[in-house]
């Protein structure tokens, strides 16, 4: 039953297998096929079973209607008891076919890639850049303090690391930047072992920004802040 999306899917499959005209379904035969199929399958999802049985009931109902002696009425006025079912099958068939066409489009589109980040403006134009994509020190501090609050809440382990000096931290950060080409603000601060070390690296970062040795960019709103080494940094 897994292979079929539902009872209509199964019915369409049986109709196609027998090369039956969907507008002129031999109800008796197809009902037999349908019920046989349900019998074959032992493991039916209970939820799905009701849905399959519902259509079985519809089939049996239509069959009974067709067996009734027809009153003598004008052909035009006579409603084919199969019409309800045929309409549903046609509607479902259309949805399925449209789905397969959409699938083709999906396959194509999934191979196209869009940018999900804001590209920086011309990096040589620093004053402009400050306004546009560089975040202010305030933003940086704000993000930091939110982070610190979180860290405090998490009852940060108070394992005392060795005392790190200002110079050592500065060097460590520059090394990191040179090796990784950029530094993920949140990630980096999360890696700090103690609150005082985190504070220290934060102030080092502020100094590096002020000295225009690194540049901090937030790629888009609500994204992490990335710090890059400026290429032509004063050495």
């Amino acid at each position: 039953m897994e292979a079929f999306q539902g009872p209509l899917d199964l019915l369409l499959f049986l109709i196609r297998k027998k090369k039956i005209d969907i507008h002129d379904i031999p109800i008796s035969a197809i009902t037999k096929d349908y019920l046989n199929y349900l019998d074959q399958k032992e493991k039916i999802n209970l939820e799905r079973e009701a849905e399959f049985l519902l259509i079985a009931a519809l089939l049996i109902y239509i069959k009974s209607q067709m067996l009734l002696p027809r009153e003598i009425v004008q052909e035009d006025d006579m409603e084919d008891p199969r019409k309800v079912l045929v309409d549903r099958l046609l509607g479902y068939q259309k949805i399925k076919a449209a789905g397969s066409l959409l699938r083709e489009k999906e396959n194509k589109e999934l191979q196209k890639w869009q940018r999900t980040f804001l590209p920086p403006s011309d990096p040589s134009n620093r004053e402009e850049e400050l306004e546009l994509t560089e975040i202010s020190l305030f933003d940086l501090a704000e993000a930091f303090f939110i982070l610190m609050k979180k860290k405090e809440r998490e009852n940060m382990r108070t394992i005392k690391g060795k005392e790190v000096t200002h110079e050592e931290k500065m060097e460590e950060m520059l090394d990191y930047l040179e090796k990784h080409s950029f530094l993920d603000f949140i990630e980096y601060f999360n890696q700090q072992k103690t609150i005082s070390e985190a504070f220290l690296s934060f102030f080092c970062l502020l100094e590096l920004i002020k000295a225009r040795i690194v540049v901090a960019i937030q790629e888009s709103l609500f994204h992490t802040i990335k710090v890059w080494l400026r290429k032509e940094s004063p050495s």
Partner: protein, 181 residues
């Protein structure tokens, strides 16, 4: 001047993360006429459509945006170290197709079209933002009403709902299927 307009358009489309609608461009560039903008846009799209380019400007969800060309997908996945992007499940695709062709409609209506309960697929589509809630139906129980979103359009590379596969295309598919069997 025209070249400058083209450059401005290139920049604006490039900087925009979502498809940039013509209307928005027009309200931004008040110094240019609609005709000038249309012309420059066409020239720009044409420029990128050339064979010797890896990226292109596409018209989706009523706007313009940059995207890579299909043939370079393997290289991008190599760079980003990712597998093929996930496709929608069969059930989700069927549900989405139902919404697309019969919208606006309720969950009960979707389930009736498909012959199976579709709440699970609908949730998936809501999470993926391919379908949105637009209100409630004025009928007993006041069920929520659903529609496809703008994201739906860009997901399938459609400019508008008018670009959905047409009745003729669908009939053709059905005939082919019949012939194949």
């Amino acid at each position: 001047m025209t070249s400058d307009l083209k450059n401005i358009l290139e920049t604006l489309i490039f900087i925009s993360i979502e498809p940039l609608p013509f209307e928005k461009i027009r309200t931004l560039l008040t110094d240019f006429t609609s005709e000038d903008i249309t012309e420059a846009l066409e020239a720009l799209v044409q420029d990128y459509a050339q064979k010797n380019r890896g990226i292109q400007i596409v018209q989706v969800a009523g706007g313009y945006m940059f995207s890579t060309k299909i043939e370079y997908d393997p290289w991008i996945r190599l760079l980003l170290r990712v597998e093929r992007k996930n496709r929608l499940s069969i059930a989700a695709m069927e549900t989405l197709s139902t919404v697309a062709y019969h919208q606006p409609l309720t969950l009960a209506e979707i389930s009736a079209f498909r012959g199976v309960d579709s709440s699970h697929s609908l949730k998936t589509l809501l999470q993926k933002r391919l379908v949105k809630i637009i209100g409630r139906k004025k009928s007993p129980g006041k069920p929520l009403i659903y529609r496809t979103s703008n994201r739906f359009l860009s997901y399938f590379g459609l400019e508008s709902l008018k670009d959905l596969p047409s009745q003729e295309e669908i009939s053709k598919i059905l005939e082919e299927k019949q012939d194949a069997e």
